[in-house]
């Protein structure tokens, strides 16, 4: 488990360093994700069981990790009170329109494959 955590943190660290050194517009952890994915593809076999277990443990409780940032919404109660109409319509209509659009597009592109 320590080995798996070290792998995850090293990929994140490399991602953060790359993002800053090359002035990339991508957050460091996303570059870390791409690095780890590339590494796993190059490795050619199954990822080590410990990495599976640690990734599953983190992703299985992904919701918990959003909570501290989510509580920060209390700082924006005035913004929410002022802009509640654009915010709620954008989230509701925007999300449902995107689901319909992406679903139709993907169904057409993947037809017969």
């Amino acid at each position: 488990m320590i080995g798996a955590l070290t792998t995850l943190l090293s990929c994140q660290l490399a991602g953060e360093v790359l993002a800053r050194a090359l002035h990339l517009p991508v957050p460091g952890p996303v570059i870390g994700m791409a690095l780890l994915f590339t590494g796993l593809l190059l490795r050619g076999r199954e990822a080590p069981p410990a990495l599976h277990a640690t990734a599953d443990a983190l992703l299985g409780n992904l919701g918990l990790l959003f909570v501290p940032a989510g509580v920060g919404v209390m700082l924006y109660l005035p913004v929410l009170a002022r802009d509640w109409a654009p915010l709620s319509l954008s989230v509701l209509a925007g999300t449902l329109a995107a689901i319909a659009f992406t679903g139709r597009l993907a169904q057409r592109l993947l037809r017969g494959r």
Partner: protein
């Protein structure tokens, strides 16, 4: 100083209380979710945020001193984002045949989601930082917060909007897909993962393994594509 006062000073200085409160609120939220029989609208993140925000507002503790302690949970979002590579790699054999066309749908759909959200907010006269916070709302939270930071949005507001978009998609997405007559399970999964990230993926997984695999792929690809494209497009169009 009284003994109670000393205890209070200790609790306010150390991260212990904020960490314990966060975990307790999360366990309480999971229990509430089970009480609601895992109804898609009964989202544990929403419950935990409401419990903690209400607690802080009632006790008069400010968010910054709470976050001092809770940042240790927040920090794990970084490694968790890196860990998304593992399920993506696990599903790779199943999805690689249609990976290119799937990626095209996800990238187009992700940009469409951002554009519609921004257009609605602009049409209704939202403040600029609110519009920027809305743009990455269909991307998984840690990435969305990073994007919001880069385009002049408010990361915490984005986190709340991401969660709201996830709950919306998970609850109403399957209905919309039925209305749009999308029957291909791969396409349904791609749509859920693109617009509603992890929360949509959890719903897709509960319906079909194929939809779940494609939804997870869509979540990862949309995170990558939006992180690359949104800041570039934003600065090109706004600057």
């Amino acid at each position: 100083m009284s003994e109670l006062g000393e205890i209070w000073v200790y609790l306010a200085r150390e991260p212990l209380a904020a960490l314990a409160a966060t975990l307790l609120a999360w366990l309480g939220a999971l229990r509430l979710q089970r009480l609601c029989r895992r109804h898609p609208l009964a989202n544990p993140v929403l419950f935990a945020v409401l419990i903690l925000a209400a607690g802080l507002l009632l006790s008069g503790i400010d968010y910054r001193s709470y976050f001092e302690g809770a940042q240790f949970v927040h920090f794990l979002l970084g490694p968790a984002t890196v860990a998304l590579a593992v399920p993506l790699h696990r599903q790779w054999e199943a999805v690689r045949r249609s990976a290119l066309l799937a990626a095209l749908s996800v990238v187009t759909g992700g940009l469409f989601a951002a554009a519609v959200g921004v257009a609605i907010a602009l049409a209704l006269g939202a403040a600029p930082e609110v519009v920027a916070s809305l743009a990455p709302r269909s991307v998984t939270t840690p990435v969305a917060m990073g994007i919001a930071e880069r385009i002049g949005g408010l990361p915490s507001l984005t986190a709340a909007l991401v969660i709201a978009s996830g709950i919306t998609g998970a609850a109403l997405g399957p209905l919309v897909l039925n209305l749009a007559r999308v029957e291909d399970m791969r396409a349904r999964g791609l749509a859920m993962g693109t617009a509603s990230h992890g929360i949509g993926t959890a719903r897709a997984l509960s319906v079909s393994a194929a939809a779940g695999a494609f939804s997870g792929l869509a979540m990862g690809l949309n995170a990558l594509a939006s992180a690359l494209l949104l800041p570039l497009l934003w600065h090109a169009l706004a600057g």
